[in-house]
């Protein structure tokens, strides 16, 4: 017996030096190419680093942190932003403890963001000491949240409700209450920067998701009217460019409403983005629905489950899991598409950068610095979403056949 099933070890993998010799310097022309490439890399890297640290003039970025973060949000009302930052710290801390995984990464990233803001390389006049100290203090708030999350009575569902309630509270905080003294209304015209970009993106994603799912189900509905309306909506919206939709929602929509009803400009942009996103979301979800085998529905029917239960308990969980990658891809493009809202006078991150460049003659010719900074911010958020989706796929893929 033993002689047949003798164990043979796999060959040792080569060490790094052996690998380099075998793959990069195995004959004269490969050696030449390797050295040439190395030289090219070094020269490029030196040039880039020299530009970043010596040539570039980062003043338009460094001196305007507040503008990039919140636009023209009234400076005496900035405490509201502070409260929101703390709410996020607390929620992320709790979520980190309860869910771990992606949430831990998000909490870490958020902590790094707080640190970067606290240590922002600019004068204390442009970014006050108290604000920096508050950012530091929020690192503590994350830990408080983490400890709160250790409570046995706290469940995932509580945290989820906490997030939803907090998001609503944040909106009230930001916009204020009509007639209130301590929480005076702040018109959205003064909001800007990352705040608006995130509002449009998060709002667009959160609202368009359920609508997209409903549209996808509607398109597959056995009722011809429902199916026809869903299909018409999806195909019309998908046939229109987003910028056109934004123009329509911000210029044409008010024409159809009675003059006393005035929808806020930011809200109009959000409506446009949501409608656009929902149509694409619907097609993604429809693909997922088609991927669920018919046997699943038959088995559920044979058990006596109602059509509603079959959809919510059996079909959608499998369909949505199957379309996480395209859905996140769409979230990422929605996030980047928020820049188009600048076309309807919404001051999101990119247009803040542009207006900073135009505001001060000293900044003429510094476009490169500003746009690179804005691009870096967009990249960080997009990459975070991409990373979160990969983790989510792994976490939800347990026991997949």
């Amino acid at each position: 017996m033993a002689s047949i099933y003798q164990e043979i070890r796999p060959p040792e993998p080569p060490g790094p030096l052996t690998w380099i010799r075998k793959n990069l310097f195995n004959n004269w022309y490969n050696s030449l190419l390797s050295l040439g490439s190395l030289a090219l890399i070094v020269v490029t890297l030196v040039a880039v680093l020299r530009w970043i640290f010596i040539t570039a003039d980062w003043r338009p970025v460094a001196d305007n942190l507040m503008l990039y973060l919140v636009g023209q949000y009234p400076r005496e009302e900035l405490w509201r932003i502070g409260v929101i930052v703390s709410m996020l710290s607390l929620l992320l801390g709790v979520s980190w403890r309860i869910w771990g995984g992606v949430m831990r990464t998000l909490a870490f990233t958020y902590a790094i963001f707080l640190l970067v803001v606290a240590l922002w390389p600019s004068s204390l006049e442009s970014f006050a000491l108290q604000a920096r100290a508050a950012m530091f203090a929020n690192l503590g708030v994350i830990l408080v949240g983490f400890l709160l999350g250790s409570s046995h009575r706290l469940r995932g569902s509580h945290v989820l409700i906490g997030w939803l309630v907090s998001l609503a509270a944040m909106l009230v905080l930001l916009s204020g209450l009509p007639g209130s003294q301590s929480l005076a209304p702040v018109p959205t015209g003064s909001w800007g920067g990352l705040l608006v970009t995130l509002l449009l993106a998060v709002g667009g994603i959160v609202i368009s998701f359920p609508f997209g799912v409903l549209l996808a189900l509607g398109r597959r509905s056995a009722l011809p009217v429902v199916s026809a309306i869903s299909t018409l909506f999806i195909e019309v919206i998908r046939g229109v460019p987003l910028i056109g939709l934004l123009f329509m929602s911000s210029l044409i929509l008010p024409l159809f409403l009675p003059p006393e009803v005035r929808i806020d400009r930011l809200l109009r942009a959000l409506i446009g983005m949501t409608v656009f996103s929902a149509a694409y979301m619907a097609e993604n979800v429809r693909g997922g629905l088609a991927a669920v085998p018919n046997g699943q529905v038959e088995a559920a029917r044979a058990l006596g489950l109602s059509n509603l239960n079959i959809t919510t308990l059996i079909v959608l969980p499998q369909a949505l899991r199957a379309v996480i990658p395209p859905m996140v891809g769409q979230f990422i493009s929605l996030f980047k598409d928020t820049t188009l809202a600048s076309g309807v006078a919404v001051l999101e991150l990119l247009s803040i950068g542009r207006s900073i460049l135009q505001a001060d003659p000293a900044f003429i010719g510094l476009q490169m610095e500003v746009y690179l900074f804005v691009a870096a911010v967009f990249w960080i958020f997009s990459y975070l979403m991409s990373y979160a989706s990969q983790r989510l796929e792994v976490a939800l893929g347990v026991g997949e056949r």
Partner: protein, 252 residues
């Protein structure tokens, strides 16, 4: 083996059942009565309508002509009747059709919780008992993808039994299994038959038929060619088509 009482009302009555797929006439007038506690084996060549027929009994397929009455409820377009019949009828599929995103135990407790409105703890208790009955309580928290085919099919049986059905339908339950796993599934089915469950089984496992079937029906081209006790079918089949088919599946 269960006694069948001819004095009571049949639990399944099918009268002249017809089914078309487009122009194709899949069932051409099936008439069958099944008594409570009977084990019926249905066999025949592929395309003979045997799967289609048992799928009409819980309305996974709609019959276009004739009458089907299950436990006193006639199958019509009325969704309440259909749901009532489905609550009394468990089904096991060739491809298992377990829900891949739920654990074994969740697969079993899903319908009791959502259809019968049992409390979760109660459903889980019964679910664990059923998993013990089919011999895999230790797999309760695994996902279907982590189980062998035989184990998956046993979970599927437990899932169907969790609704406490009066009738169990088996649609080729061992056809997708590797040979060494067929026995573990058949053992569970034999055990179930001995508890007096009414069973309709589409299968070519003639050993199973000999052991527990009360009656057998040979289907061909949408018709019942011949029916009777296993003894009659195996030793004295009347029709040439039955003889030919049996000789083909029994000679190897």
């Amino acid at each position: 083996m269960s006694e069948h009482q001819a004095t009571t009302q049949p639990i399944i009555i099918a009268r002249d059942v017809h089914k078309w797929y487009g122009q194709f006439h899949a069932l051409r007038g099936i008439t069958m009565e099944v008594q409570k506690g009977e084990v019926i084996v249905i066999f025949g060549p592929s395309g003979s309508g045997k799967s289609t027929f048992i799928r009409t009994i819980n309305r996974l397929e709609e019959h276009q002509k004739g009458q089907i009455i299950v436990d006193g409820i006639e199958l019509t377009h009325d969704i309440r009747n259909i749901e009532a019949v489905r609550m009394e009828t468990g089904m096991v599929f060739q491809q298992f059709n377990l829900f891949p995103h739920l654990t074994t135990l969740q697969n079993v407790t899903l319908a009791p919780i959502w259809v019968r409105k049992w409390k979760k703890q109660e459903a889980e208790k019964v679910g664990m008992q059923l998993l013990e009955r089919v011999g895999i309580p230790e797999q309760a928290n695994k996902y279907p993808g982590q189980l062998s085919g035989g184990q998956q099919q046993r979970v599927a049986i437990a899932r169907a039994l969790a609704m406490q059905p009066k009738i169990m339908l088996f649609d080729e339950p061992t056809s997708a299994l590797d040979p060494e796993m067929i026995k573990e599934v058949l053992d569970v089915m034999v055990g179930l038959a001995r508890t007096g469950m009414t069973m309709l089984v589409v299968t070519h496992e003639m050993g199973f038929a000999k052991a527990v079937a009360n009656r057998m029906f040979f289907f061909d081209q949408g018709l019942i060619v011949e029916g009777g006790t296993p003894e009659h079918i195996f030793t004295d089949p009347q029709e040439d088509r039955t003889k030919l088919f049996l000789s083909q599946i029994l000679t190897h």
